[in-house]
Every structure is written in structure tokens, then in C-alpha cells.
């Protein structure tokens, strides 16, 4: 059973990582608009060069 002494802290680290990822995603504005819109964008059928949306690599200050 001593394996839980390793696995649970690992789980905690993973949790912390997920929270950080969530905060990044929310702060970068991914959930600001309508969620369907990004999906629809693909169906609009334009080539990559036309896509003008660029996600900023880091959260806005």
C-alpha cells in the first residue's frame, strides 16, 4: 500500500498542473466568445493562410 504515498503526491502535482492549464485557458480568452464559433470556423472552409485568428502564446497582461 505504500505506493499511495508516491501516487497521491503525483496526483496532487497533476491537479496543480490542470488548474494552471485551466487558468491559462480562461485568461487567454478561449471561453469568452461563443464556444460553437471556433468549431464553425473549421467548417467555413478556408485555407490556413486565411485564418487570421492567432492565439497569443502567453496570457494577456
Amino acid at each position: 500500500m505504500s505506493i499511495v504515498f508516491l501516487l497521491i503526491p503525483l496526483g496532487i502535482v497533476l491537479m496543480a498542473a490542470s488548474v494552471v492549464a485551466l487558468f491559462w485557458a480562461v485568461d487567454s480568452g478561449q471561453y469568452d466568445g461563443e464556444l460553437e464559433q471556433e468549431g464553425r470556423r473549421i467548417l467555413d472552409g478556408e485555407s490556413d493562410e486565411d485564418v487570421t485568428t492567432r492565439w497569443s502564446p502567453r496570457p494577456p497582461t
Binding site: 500500500m1 499511495v4 504515498f5 497521491i8 496526483g11 496532487i12 491537479m15 490542470s18 488548474v19 485551466l22 487558468f23 480562461v26 485568461d27 480568452g29 471561453y31 469568452d32 466568445g33 461563443e34 464559433q37 464553425r40 467555413d44 478556408e46 486565411d50 487570421t52 485568428t53 492567432r54 492565439w55 497569443s56 494577456p60 497582461t61
Partner: protein
């Protein structure tokens, strides 16, 4: 370095438009990210402060053929931040909840099968580790709310929530630290998660309805073309127009601000403000009213006051006021929730004491279950959620709710009284021949009239446009304001207009047929025309739909009996009366209401002020800011009647939903309390039950907002599209 800005883009109709705008903004150097949402008409841009300016971005939008409008930025920002922090709180609560449940379940299983004491303590500590951030980060709003309530010496629903959370957490921590006893980390995290999720859904529904209303108020001219000293024209937000600014007004545009005319002359339709249906000719430095429509050539004016003081600001103010007021039913529910919360606290104390005497080991779980399960969240969500959803639905179809209780009353209406002019008829005249000089051709007469009217800006001119012939043209046309037009056709001077005006040209025919427009030359009167207003588009279908809803219909108009009868017959309405003064209309409505009918009055909001105020519920057609004084309960943003039946139907289902919700909330709370008090419900089951009851209420209400957004686009056309009401033949 990075700036963020959100603004509205006017004129977009589809996702392709949105893409065009996106592309155009994306090409601006320094723009990092841009999203344009077609359905909310919102653009959000992040850009590098040092490489681009908002001005350049706005220019890019204009280049793509649309108009950017700056929203009240702080409001949009605050909304966005609130949404973001709510999402983070939910995320943390959800992740924490899943972890906590895992450890607590292991403890339960361990309790049943035997577990090493050190592992048990380890799992408890881990549970505490996960529950703590959930409580203090995700649960913070509940504690803040409870504190606020306590400071105001009121009991809101946050008080029992915060109480339950604090109690469960404190006991769990105490038991964790001393190494024995029950822990409730799972209940704490679940409660926080489901409650936050419910509140998030409610916030989204509310924000959406606010946005929909805001989008509608933006269909008023949101910007004005201000002329700078160097002759350049700049479009600035209406709010920034100051007294003394020079504005340029395009043909057909709404004059946004009160001012005086700089151009030589102007033809304006002030029916929106004054109710005067005849277009007026204004000379240089005459006063122009904000809200009037410029019917003639483009003009310039100098504003006499800031936009905020303009009569047109009335509508927006009205909307804001309407949003600030809360429906009486919601207030009742709030009071009920407050009383209920108090009862919950008393009850929980009673349960704690009773169990303490009977079986102390069960006292805590039973008390927690009572506190959690009886949270009156569903009760206080029932009405606001329904109203918000119905408001969204209505504003999508072009109906604004101005009075908080209008929805409830609209649902109970059984009779509709309709004004005719401007309501059923559309103010687009058609011409027909009434009298024709012997031996002449009607086609020829209409063609001459069309030629004379071609360059005229007068609304009646459009009646002749369909009859124009290329072979017949007029030269040297001159317009005599309020009298008629004169021009030379095939070498002969013709006049079209008032009888006296034409008679000056051909005195021998001075008493030709009375009424209508007279067309004559120096050789006599050729013809007289009858101009008639046509039914507005969709009026027939709209009336039929109202009838299908089981509503009685009455037409009341100040127009001639003949004209009213014609319209009534065309629409299949049997009850009508003509030549009714505004007070007569009020008397008619009062009489109907005296007989026990609940009357919905639909009118133009200017002449019908008293009757709109006197009716059980009233609906004004948005024809300018005078509606601010009209006392209408509802406002039709378009000049079309078709949204009325949608509104009645939505109001009826809203009332039904509201009742369902309240009933459900009451039944749930009342039936759950005994179960919880008897200790049959574990705290975590209570958390799920409470949250589910709230979610059911919100989901039931959300059905109203529905996927039906067929009318989204039409609502953006706006008040400015309102045409002048020219049924009564204007003086020429």
C-alpha cells in the same frame, strides 16, 4: 503592452461578414488576436499598444464596410472578468470535488473492509488538502454574500449556504486533526461545485438578455458624422457629440441630436417626436429635433446640445430603467427566499438540538443535510431565470420589455386594440386615378406625374415611381414646399399638387374634383390622383396569428371611416371604428376593460399616449423617443406587427414556466426537509438534491429562450428604418 478592447460591429448579418471584419482587423500591424462574433455582433481584439491604435483598428473595420461602435468598455470588461473568474472557480471546484470524492470513497471502502490507520489518516489529510482551496477559493463568493447579508441584517440564501459550508468544513478539519470521527470534505466540495455551476448558468442567461437588449438599443444611430474644421468628416460615438458640433446627416438617416440647420433647406419627418405626420420643410437655421428623419438631400447642422440631452436618448434611458426594476414576482420570491432561509436556520438548530438529545452521533449529518437540502436557491431562481429567458427570446424577435410586470400581464390579455396608421399600414403610398380629363390617357397622366416627382424627395413622390416612362421626362422641376411641384414636360409647364396651387396655372378649372393631388397644365386639369397607404408587410399574417391565439381584435383610428373600413375588411377584422380621437380610443379601451376584457393596446406611442397608459398592457411601435413619455409596457423595435404574436405566446409560456418553477421549488423544499431532519439523507446526497433542483429550474426556464433565433438579423435594422406615416395625404 497588450491592450484589449471589445466593441460592437454594426451591419453584420452572417458569419461571412464576421470573417471579413476579422480578416480586415487581422491585417492591422500589431494585432495579436481578433475574434468577431456574428450573432452577438461583438468584436474582441488584443493588440500591441506600441504598434497599433484603436483608431487604426476602427479604420480597418470601416474599410471592410462595417461600422465599429465602442461599447461602454468598463461594463463589457467587468462582465468578461466576472465570467472568467466564475469559470475558474467552477473549474477548481470541479477538479477538487473529483479528487476529494476519490479519497473519501476510499475511506468509506476502508471503513467497510478494514484500513491501515496511517493510510486512513493520510487519506483524510489529502481530502483536506483538496477541499481547502475549493472552499476558500471557489466558495469565497458565498461567504462574501453571507457577510453582506449579515451586515445588512437580512437573511439571504447565502447565509445557510455559508453556514453549512463552514460547519461541515470546521468539523471535518477538527476530526482530521484529532484523527477520528466523520469527515465531510466530499459534501463541501460538491456543494460548492454544483452551487457555483447553477449560479454560472444563471449569470450567463442574465448577461445574454442584457446583451440582447443592448444590441437593440444600438440599432439607434450609435455614431454621428462630425465635421471637423479642416473639412474632414469623422464618425464619433453619439455620446461624444457636444453642443456646437457640426454634423452631416445623410439622406434617410436619423438626426441624432437636437440642432439647427446649416444647409439651405431640409425636408424632415418629425413624426417620431411630435406626431406630425406631414414631412416638414425647414429653412436655414431652423431648429431640428433629434430623432427626426432626414428625408431630403444630405444636410448639415450644428448641434444645440450634447447627445445625452437629446430626446432620442430617451429610449436608451427607458431601457436602462426597465432593467434596473425587478419584476414584482421576483421580489416576492426574494422575500420568500429570505424568510425560507431564516426558517432553515431555525429548523437546523432545532434538528441539531433534538438529535443531540436522542442520538448525538447523528446530530451533525442531519443538521448539515437540513441546511444544505433546504437552501431556497431554486425558489429564488425560479422567477428571474424565467424572466431573463423570456426577455432574451422577445428581444430576439424585436420586442423590448419596458415595464417589469408587462410579461405577466401580456400573458393574460384577451383583446387587442390596434391603431391603424403606422401600425397596420406602412406609410408607403400607392397612387390611383380618381378623375381623368375626357379623351386623355391615364398612363400618360401617371407618367407625367412620375416625371415631375422623380427628383422630388417628398414621400408621396414614391407613389408615382412605378408609373415612370423613359420617354416622358421633366425639365426645370421646382418644388414648392407644402404645395407641389412644377416642371416642363414636352415643352409645356405642368404642376402637380394642391388644387389651389395648380389652379394658379389654369384658373378656368379652379373647381375640379375635390381631394387628392391635382395634375394640370395651362390648358387645364388632366387628372386627379388618390394616394393611398398600403397595408404594412405581414400585417395580414400578424393579425391572423393574433386571432389564432384566441384574441379578440378591434381597430381604432383617427382616420376617416372609409379608410379604416377598407383596412378592416382587408384584414378580416369585424370590429372597427374610425374618426376616433385619442380620448375616444381611451374611452373605447376603458369600456372594453369595464366589460372584463384585458386589453393589449398597440399604437404608435405618440398620438396614442393616453390610451397606451390606460390599457391593461400596451405596446408602442418604436417611432422615436416620445415613447419615453408614452407609458407603454412593451416596445416594438420594428414597424412590423408580427413579433406581437410571438410576444404573447412567449409571455404565456413564461407565466406557465414561472408557475411550474415555483411549484417545483416549493414541493422540493417542503418534501425534502422532513427526510433530512430525520437523518435519512446523507449530506452529500443533500448537496446533489439541492443543486439538481436549482439546475432543473434554470433548465426549465432556458427552454423559453429556445434555439429559435430566426429573427436575430431583423432586429438590427432598427428604429431609423421606420417610415413616415403618410396615410393622410400630406399637404402639397
Amino acid at each position: 503592452m497588450t491592450n484589449y478592447s471589445a466593441f460592437t460591429v454594426q451591419g453584420m448579418h452572417c458569419s461571412n461578414c464576421a470573417r471579413t471584419v476579422e480578416k480586415s482587423i487581422g491585417e492591422v500591424d500589431g494585432v495579436k488576436r481578433v475574434t468577431v462574433n456574428a450573432s452577438t455582433a461583438q468584436a474582441s481584439v488584443e493588440w500591441d499598444h506600441s504598434r497599433a491604435s484603436l483608431q487604426e483598428i476602427f479604420d480597418a473595420v470601416r474599410r471592410s464596410g462595417f461600422t465599429p461602435v465602442q461599447l461602454a468598455e468598463e461594463a463589457a470588461d467587468a462582465e468578461r472578468l466576472a465570467r472568467r473568474s466564475a469559470l475558474k472557480r467552477i473549474g477548481v471546484a470541479g477538479l477538487g470535488m473529483m479528487q476529494t470524492m476519490m479519497f473519501v470513497y476510499a475511506l468509506y471502502a476502508g471503513g467497510a473492509h478494514g484500513i491501515d490507520a496511517s493510510i486512513e489518516q493520510y487519506l483524510r489529510l489529502t481530502g483536506m488538502l483538496f477541499a481547502t482551496p475549493v472552499l476558500f477559493y471557489s466558495g469565497a463568493p458565498f461567504f462574501a454574500g453571507a457577510l453582506r447579508d449579515i451586515r445588512r441584517r437580512a437573511v439571504g440564501m447565502d447565509v445557510p449556504v455559508a453556514g453549512a459550508l463552514a460547519l461541515a468544513y470546521t468539523v471535518s478539519v477538527f476530526n482530521t486533526l484529532r484523527g477520528r470521527g466523520q469527515i465531510y470534505y466530499d459534501s463541501v466540495t460538491m456543494f460548492v461545485f454544483f452551487l457555483s455551476a447553477g449560479r454560472y448558468v444563471e449569470m450567463i442567461v442574465r448577461q445574454r438578455s442584457l446583451n440582447a437588449t443592448e444590441a437593440l438599443s444600438h440599432s439607434l444611430p450609435a455614431t454621428a458624422a462630425v465635421m471637423r474644421d479642416d473639412g474632414s468628416i469623422e464618425r464619433v460615438p453619439l455620446a461624444l457629440v457636444k453642443g456646437g458640433d457640426r454634423l452631416s446627416i445623410a439622406k434617410g438617416a436619423v438626426i441624432p441630436v437636437d440642432g439647427s440647420l446649416l444647409s439651405e433647406s431640409a425636408l424632415v419627418d418629425e413624426s417620431l417626436i411630435t406626431g406630425e405626420s406631414t414631412p416638414l420643410t425647414k429653412g436655414r437655421s431652423a431648429a431640428l429635433l433629434g430623432g427626426a428623419i432626414n428625408l431630403g438631400h444630405p444636410i448639415e447642422l450644428v448641434t444645440s446640445a450634447a447627445a445625452a440631452d437629446s430626446t432620442l436618448a430617451g429610449i436608451v434611458g427607458l431601457l436602462q430603467k426597465a432593467q434596473a426594476e425587478r419584476p414584482s414576482m421576483a421580489r416576492t420570491a426574494d422575500r420568500a427566499a429570505s424568510i425560507f432561509s431564516l426558517i432553515t436556520l431555525v429548523l437546523a438548530t432545532a434538528v441539531a438540538i433534538s438529535w443531540g438529545l436522542v442520538d448525538p452521533s447523528k446530530a451533525l449529518p442531519a443538521t448539515l443535510a437540513v441546511l444544505v437540502i433546504t437552501c431556497p436557491c431554486a425558489l429564488s431562481l425560479a422567477t428571474p431565470a424565467t424572466v431573463a429567458a423570456a426577455t432574451t427570446r422577445l428581444s430576439r424577435s424585436g420586442v423590448l420589455i419596458l415595464r417589469p410586470d408587462a410579461l405577466e400581464r401580456l400573458a393574460r390579455v384577451d383583446t387587442v386594440v390596434l391603431d391603424k396608421t403606422g401600425t397596420l399600414t406602412r406609410g408607403l403610398p400607392t397612387a390611383s386615378i380618381r378623375y381623368l380629363a375626357p379623351g386623355s390617357s391615364g398612363e400618360q397622366a401617371l407618367a407625367i406625374a412620375a416625371a415631375l416627382e422623380r427628383s422630388s424627395e417628398h414621400p408621396l413622390a414614391s407613389a408615382f415611381a412605378p408609373y415612370a416612362l423613359t420617354a416622358v421626362t421633366a425639365n426645370e422641376t421646382r418644388e414648392y414646399a407644402g404645395r407641389g411641384v412644377q416642371g416642363i414636360v414636352a415643352g409645356r409647364t405642368w404642376r402637380l399638387g394642391q388644387r389651389e396651387f395648380v389652379a394658379e396655372l389654369c384658373p378656368k378649372d379652379a373647381d375640379a374634383r375635390i381631394g387628392g393631388l391635382v395634375l394640370g397644365s395651362d390648358s387645364g386639369v388632366l387628372a386627379t390622383f388618390h394616394t393611398q397607404d398600403t397595408l404594412s408587410e405581414g400585417a395580414g399574417a400578424a393579425v391572423q396569428e393574433l386571432r389564432n391565439l384566441g384574441l379578440g381584435l378591434v381597430i381604432a383610428s383617427g382616420d376617416t371611416e372609409e379608410a379604416v373600413c377598407e383596412v378592416a375588411r382587408a384584414l378580416g377584422v369585424h370590429a372597427w371604428s374610425g374618426r376616433v380621437s385619442p380620448n375616444g380610443k381611451l374611452a373605447l379601451v376603458k369600456e372594453l376593460q369595464g366589460k372584463g376584457h384585458r386589453v393589449l393596446m398597440i399604437g404608435d406611442g405618440v398620438n396614442d399616449g393616453p390610451v397606451l397608459a390606460g390599457a391593461y398592457v400596451s405596446c408602442a411601435i418604436a417611432q422615436g423617443s416620445a415613447i419615453a413619455q408614452a407609458g407603454a409596457d412593451l416596445l416594438l423595435v420594428q414597424t412590423s406587427l408580427s413579433p406581437v404574436s410571438v410576444a404573447v405566446r412567449t409571455a404565456r409560456s413564461a407565466l406557465r414556466t414561472m408557475r411550474q418553477n415555483l411549484l417545483w421549488a416549493l414541493v422540493y423544499n417542503i418534501s425534502a426537509i422532513p427526510l433530512a431532519a430525520l437523518g435519512w439523507v446523507a449530506p452529500w446526497v443533500a448537496a446533489i438534491g439541492m443543486s439538481m433542483s436549482s439546475l432543473i429550474v434554470v433548465a426549465n426556464a432556458a427552454r423559453l429562450a429556445g434555439p429559435d433565433n430566426r429573427n436575430t438579423r431583423r432586429t438590427r435594422e432598427g428604429v431609423g428604418a421606420g417610415l413616415p406615416d403618410v396615410h393622410q395625404e400630406p399637404a402639397r
